[in-house]
């Protein structure tokens, strides 16, 4: 699957309070959460983001609380994937579980600038910055996690397992 969009660039330790402030955790619907995505650190994000766009960040993206609302808000905002030098642990699980692709790649995170057009091939993990002309390869998912990704998330993966066990 190929993804293509413009890059939104952020720094290190982007926490889940920045991705979706806790005052909005009384919302459940993905579209409602998306309306407040990144609002405390980038007030223009919601109005500028287009379907397919990509978030690019430095280290420890998604640190802080366990709120699944964070990857849900990002996904519902239209963002197709997140590229970072590293991800916080719970955010990583949550994103994989709900089907928001994450790509860990130091070189790509350094090369890509805000507004660059980026193309990602999820199957191979290759990231191409069409603006700089450079191509990078992200860290491969462990086999176990790839099964969850391929099933379309943890619920689908578990459904399959449960029906197989019957």
């Amino acid at each position: 699957m190929s993804l293509k969009g413009k890059a939104f660039k952020y720094g290190s330790h982007i926490d889940t309070d920045a991705i979706i402030p806790a005052r909005h955790l009384n919302l459940v619907e993905p579209a409602d959460l998306a309306r407040h995505c990144m609002e405390d650190i980038d007030a223009g994000f919601v109005s500028r983001v287009k379907n397919g766009d990509i978030i690019v960040a430095d280290i420890n993206f998604g640190c802080g609380s366990s709120r699944e609302h964070a990857p849900v808000a990002i996904k519902a905002s239209g963002i197709s994937c997140v590229i970072a030098k590293s991800f916080a642990r719970i955010f990583f699980r949550n994103a994989i579980n709900i089907g928001l692709p994450l790509l860990e790649c130091k070189e790509a995170a350094e090369d890509i600038k805000a507004g660059d057009t980026v193309e990602v091939d999820l199957a191979s993990g290759s990231i191409t910055n069409l603006s700089s002309g450079k191509t990078f390869t992200s860290k491969a998912y462990p086999e176990f996690m790839m099964q969850i990704v391929q099933a379309g998330g943890l619920v689908e993966h578990t459904k399959k397992k449960l029906s197989g066990a019957k």
């Binding site: 330790h13 926490d15 309070d17 920045a18 402030p21 806790a22 005052r23 955790l25 009384n26 919302l27 459940v28 405390d40 650190i41 280290i59 420890n60 640190c63 802080g64 609380s65 366990s66 709120r67 699944e68 609302h69 990857p71 849900v72 590293s86 916080a88 642990r89 719970i90 699980r93 949550n94 579980n97 709900i98 462990p142 176990f144 998330g153 943890l154 619920v155 578990t158 459904k159 449960l162």
Partner: protein, 417 residues
Amino acid sequence: MTLAEKILAAHSGKASVSAGDFLSVRTDLVLSNDITAPIAIREFERLGVARVFDPKKIVMVPDHFCPNKDIQSAEQAKMMRDFARKHKLVYFEVGEMGIEHVILPEKGLVLPGEVVVGADSHTCTYGALGAFATGMGSTDIAIAMATGEIWMKVPPTIKFVFHGKPGKWVGGKDLILYLIGDIGVDGALYSALEFHGEAVAKLGMDGRFTMSNMAIESGGKAGLFQVDDKTRSYLKGRTSRKYTEYRPDRDAAYARVIEYDTSKIEPQVAFPHLPSNTKPISQAGAIAIDQVVIGSCTNGRMDDLRIAASILKGRKVDPNLRLIILPGSQQVYLDALKEGLIETFIRAGAAVSTPTCGPCLGGYMGILAAGERCVSTTNRNFVGRMGHVKSEVYLANPAVAAASAIAGRIAGPEEIK
């Protein structure tokens, strides 16, 4: 094997595991709260499973925005309450509740050697009891509620040894803030922390809960203590269930060993906007503040309130400042009332609230306006964490928080005459 590896091996039917292994782990307790349960319930229902794996092992606690702060929160709390009743889960209504990480140990629901997963990042608090406890998202919790199992990657373990004797006003909060200041907010990313040394052996259970609680603030998956007499005496009378005390092997493989001289650690203050942005109190400077919060899953237990009361007794809060104290549970509230602490707080000019996570995450009960500063015993000081994006949170222990409330600026307890 390390402590974490031993517990995970025992819960996955393996003789031995090591860092990096993927396991299907049996869970002893599955937790969620009023903001994470609604999503977990949706995902659970999408699974098409009729029943939870074991209603006695699933706990739901209304604590983040409860007692309900607004209509939307009320709807979420109701969704959780209805589900908990339908499936006969362990559920604590507001009159007997408290902050999840305060009441679960208090009610004897977590024991040494157990595996606890919770849809709340501070689930790691129970490491203080020698349990492997870790935070996850709502979908993971939905799967655990349905199957009683969860996938995990065995984390590498970092061993922290706190040598020496802590100073008078130095508690668990200062040791963990110092550690986070040293290794950074991703210094223990994906790792388990194991706490050792005579300084942590001297800490009471409440101080240990504080340390394990903030393991997540260093990126950690869990923060574990070994069981000792203090753990055993804490558990006495709280449970009749049997438990296993695991010990790390002498030749356990640690990713790193980090040692500190505790006698050199002062009370710490984490400046905005990261818990790793720490300074010793002597270098904090005179920073005027508008609010002080004492409470939360980090510092809302009896020892915390006793320390705060010892400083507030017979004194008055600075008139230009709001002091808000939130006992961590109804039991803590009642014990504090019996000991006279609540009277001390009210006479000093504090507002005392029913237990809730409330202000810690900018929910309610003490939201900050633009430009306001707060000294808080909570766990995070991210941008906008307690209110307006232009407000600031300074993290500290209950002694520093109480002293600051009297001084009207960030101050150490030694400065209060």
